[in-house]
């Protein structure tokens, strides 16, 4: 790519990079920094890439690594205390007194068809952003960054049972949100 193409393309790419970083780091300032670093890193090797698709894949790969580094840097920063009790309460709302579904989860029809729809991803992002901070953070580390639970526990200095509670909460919360905001009426 020529340098003019490249500059324009990076401008185009920047908002998506920022959104991706914010979703995982939950801080605009830190997201800006990380994206900045990723873009600088990307510029160094840009000449090697012929196509935009190949190049943007590479920029995102750099960004993902920067995000992982940032999450690791934070490990001394403990997860904000969120009493285990509160976690249980949020999950409890979904179940009745005997811990059976308060409301049977609705069918989602063919959810995979949604993956092709741009609007689905906006709802998906909104639902991830709607999760409480700690479940969201652990969920991101597990599912976006693909870290194993052992590693997450170690990085965040939490027990594995706490980690599982947070993941359980994040997944049920996300399931509930998508059910209400996207799949309601779709099935």
């Amino acid at each position: 790519m020529t340098s003019i193409d490249l500059g324009a393309f990076l401008d185009e790419l920047r908002p998506a990079l920022l959104r991706f970083a914010r979703l995982q780091l939950r801080s605009d300032a830190v997201a800006e920094d990380v994206v900045q670093e990723a873009l600088l890193g990307a510029l160094e090797g840009a000449a090697r890439f012929k196509g935009k698709a190949e190049f943007s894949t590479w920029v995102f790969a750099i960004l993902k690594n920067k995000i992982i580094d940032e999450i690791r840097r934070r490990k001394r920063e403990p997860v904000a205390p969120e009493p285990e009790r509160a976690l249980e309460d949020a999950i409890d709302d979904l179940f009745d007194a005997r811990d059976h579904w308060a409301e049977i989860p609705a069918a989602w029809g063919d959810p995979h068809a949604s993956l092709e729809q741009t609007r689905f991803w906006a709802v998906f992002e909104a639902c991830v952003n709607g999760l409480a901070a700690n479940p969201a953070r652990v969920f991101m580390m597990r599912e976006f960054l693909g870290l194993e639970t052992d590693e997450i526990c170690k990085e965040l200095a939490i027990s594995s049972s706490n980690c599982w509670v947070l993941l359980h909460r994040a997944r049920l919360g996300l399931r509930e949100c998508l059910s209400q905001r996207w799949f309601a009426g779709a099935a």
């Binding site: 993902k64 599912e143 976006f144 980690c163 599982w164 993941l167 359980h168 059910s179």
Partner: protein
């Protein structure tokens, strides 16, 4: 017998570690009788697939 809350805990953990045979067995028994949890299992698997896709579409 598992209740639905325990079943969802186990299904969630099943995405993070290999469940023991006892756990798999009790979960299976529960799923036979519980449509809500069967749906939830599929939906949790879908969430994982969707999140990976989200990561990859960038």
């Amino acid at each position: 017998m598992l209740n639905c809350k325990q079943a969802t805990q186990m299904m969630s953990q099943g995405l993070d570690r290999r469940l023991g045979w006892r756990e798999r067995f009790t979960l299976r028994l529960h799923l036979v009788i519980c449509e809500g949890c069967r749906r939830t299992r599929e939906q949790l698997e879908f969430l994982r697939a969707a999140t990976r896709r989200y990561r990859d579409i960038f």
